[in-house]
Symmetry: C2
Subunit: 155 residues, 2 copies
Amino acid sequence: MSADFMRQAIALSIENVRSGRGGPFAALVVKDGAVIASGANQVTSLNDPTAHAEIVAIRQACRALGHFQLTGCDLYTTCEPCPMCLGAIYWARPDRVFYGNTKADAAAIGFDDSFIYDQLPLSQDRRKIPLVPLLREEALEAFREWERKEDKIRY
Amino acid sequence: MSADFMRQAIALSIENVRSGRGGPFAALVVKDGAVIASGANQVTSLNDPTAHAEIVAIRQACRALGHFQLTGCDLYTTCEPCPMCLGAIYWARPDRVFYGNTKADAAAIGFDDSFIYDQLPLSQDRRKIPLVPLLREEALEAFREWERKEDKIRY
């Protein structure tokens, strides 16, 4: 039952704040009616800027399933995913994502991801973190190596 | 010297293909003229859809520095970052990002991230992976708990 899974995630997010492990965010991955992975934000306790709840839960779920995709799974997250987590969700491919708090709610308590979306329309050299092209011709050699490989696993 | 660092990353990406660990992508984090972390794509060998080269290198660099931000660091990646990695870069906050291959080059060998960007303008219920709001009022309790906390670490 989807409301029950979200309540479990919310309880985990509150516990995460109380324990001091990180921000007020948690996530669960559910498959065939059972929780197969859970995660909470651990950015500050692990010194890992990628340890958002969704990423932690997705990684754990994939380990549990022995696959790099989450076909047939639902993700429950206590907050609307940030761009990084949304990207991870698209690579992991769960069937659906349920979320509790909105991006606006998160921004109101100091977790504002709109600065990332605001950067995307800017040219790469004008962004706060500039993206600078370098040695494309040499880098293409790795792509040619990939194309020559016979046992490619695509994802 | 920035070209040398990119060449190191390119060599690592070629080795990653030859060893069968994952796709043709690698990344380095450089601080004060020294490589402090490196990573290569390990999505298929680790069953981890978040194990893109940039994420692996960012996590390792943050562990090495004992901090969740990469101020004063440059990231060298052999390919223009996907939306997930771009989000991770904005959370990690290195000073600059140098990249070799372009998104178009990656798409040409079967690693196309444009399907993610294409989803963003769509309403959440019309996306390939729908985002469904659920129990916002209950989820807000975790945010209130965070606001009550006195030793908040922001990131």
